[in-house]
Symmetry: C2
Subunit: 331 residues, 2 copies
């Protein structure tokens, strides 16, 4: 174990303690595992609630604020939040205009968020769910509803939050968020293991000099293990798979995003992104904007994931709206 922690049983609570102290001007604590933007609930606005297991910071914890979500609810590391926490989050976000739950498509999360949604509906709160499922490798496009959510998260959360902020009515907002999710496709590659902080054990083994495509953010098995490729080869392989999945077409305008899983340097991310730009230009796909950083991590796993989001005028308008959250700022 090489991690700076205290009692492994208190990881999530202590990390949320630290998050709230670090961002005390911007966020408030609703319950031990539930945080909200300071000004939530906001009158006249549909609430957005996000969440999932801890250990993927900045996701989801840090994506609450202006033009982002209203509340985030968390479980232990890599573990879904319980339904009572989801209910706390919904109540913190609801100003009487209803709440949309927005989270990644993992079985444990779906089960717990669905129960929290049911509890809230019993209390008379309007709640609907949009699942994020942008990861293309685990299931073919015909079974897209089975796919996992990954690095589209913060962009989808931003579009949802910005549109809610602009006063979009509940039903239109839900359709918009569903389109934002549909327009995002992601694929990643891992270059080194991550360790579970509770146990100090690696979640999988990856020999030095090898890389694995399609690995999940909890160490879920990928689809192919190969010898370490160059940055340019990796960029082409990821873009080829992503482009053919939607499919993205020449003339499409996209946001190109590269995410570091944990131990990956920004140096590597910039080098891969350099070739993504060149390669998309060859394909006739127009990069409207680029995002680069650690948006969703898998502890100290090495590797990257790439997301393309196809824009249309409405998505672009909300994407370009301001965001001000601890984990994501857009001016």
């Amino acid at each position: 174990m090489r991690k700076l922690i205290n009692n492994p049983e208190n990881l999530a609570i202590e990390l949320i303690d630290g998050f709230c102290l670090t961002n005390k001007k911007k966020v408030k604590r609703i319950a031990p595992h539930v945080c909200a933007r300071k000004d939530a609930p906001i009158a006249g606005k549909v609430g957005i609630v996000i969440g999932g297991g801890a250990g993927h910071e900045p996701l989801f914890l840090e994506y609450i604020g202006l033009g982002m979500a209203d509340a985030s609810v968390h479980g232990q590391v890599f573990t879904a939040p319980t339904p009572d926490k989801v209910l706390d989050g919904i109540k913190a976000a609801d100003s009487g205009n209803g709440v949309i739950l927005l989270y990644n498509n993992y079985a444990g999360d779906v089960m717990n968020f669905d129960m929290g949604q049911d509890f809230a509906r019993l209390e008379g709160i309007k709640v609907e769910t949009v699942l994020i499922n942008d990861e293309i490798s685990a299931f073919p496009v015909e079974e897209a509803e089975e796919r996992r959510g990954t690095t589209a998260d913060h962009m989808v959360i931003h579009i949802a939050g910005a549109a809610a902020e602009a006063g979009l009515p509940f039903d239109e907002l839900k359709v918009l968020i569903e389109r934002a999710v549909f327009n995002c496709r992601s694929l990643g590659v891992s270059t080194s293991e991550c360790t579970l902080p509770e146990t100090g054990l690696a979640t999988f083994e990856l020999p030095e000099g090898r890389m694995e495509f399609g690995m999940g953010i909890h160490g879920e098995a990928g689809v192919e293990q190969v010898d370490l490729m160059s940055a340019d080869e990796t960029a082409e392989r990821l873009i080829d798979e992503i482009v053919k999945d939607l499919p993205f077409q020449p003339g499409d305008e996209v946001v190109a995003l590269i995410n570091g899983y944990g131990a990956t340097t920004r140096m590597e991310m910039f080098i891969v992104m350099r070739h993504i730009h060149k390669y998309l230009e060859i394909k006739g796909i127009d990069v409207y904007d680029t995002e680069l950083g650690e948006f969703i991590t898998a502890q100290e796993m090495g590797g990257i994931s790439v997301t393309l989001m196809k824009l249309d005028p409405e998505l672009k308008k909300y994407y370009d709206a301001p965001a001000d959250s601890p984990g994501y700022v857009r001016n």
Copy 2:
């Protein structure tokens, strides 16, 4: 080797290529290793030029923009920029009001930046230098001028940039930056090695379950290797050393910063920051603001560094001014 790169000889150039593509709306390329904010040089403003070896991103490359530096100049990975690049950076930043060079105190950087400064002076440009030397472990306080620069960097750059933006005259600006540097004290601890991307070799060895205080960002030897401590114990050890160095006094108002060196999770940083807040409160030191993230990295080295910056009314005013750079945003 586990890094996504191409030809190791082209690391710095390709990473700067990727940086400029990623931030094409905000930055421009002056020369292969020199970038500037898009609107540089800015009339009526003292220019700020920063730089050093590549491989520490976001430092220095990404700290150019509003309320930050005007130009950044880079060498190869962990290698100082050559004097001709420094001269290019100075010219890109100078609007006739002179330029202040601001970088970390390492012998190679000092030699090359000094020569670049001489070249610029020969061309009639007013140039002065402020060295950043916030790392307390390598030399005692009596030999502070020998100390290395580390994680105070982006805060000092921001105060310099914001004050320059506000029109502070050259000589007053230099005194202000010197005070900002003096008021910052930093100490770090490493928990795992980093590898040089050119060779794939680790720069040092650190057995699992051990940690080393005072290690440099290029793998320079630290001052003490111990068994892995808890997050809370680590926080107290770092704060004790930092507080007694200035010394910080009860009633002082500080910015508390925690920096991840590369592989460290935000989870760990939040857990350590949680206790820093509690421990500083016990000491009567008031945390005005908190910063948490990867500001200066040493490739994929594990571990953290902590910086305290003592504020006064003038420093606070410029610290609170807006910053908008690819690597640091302050609203």
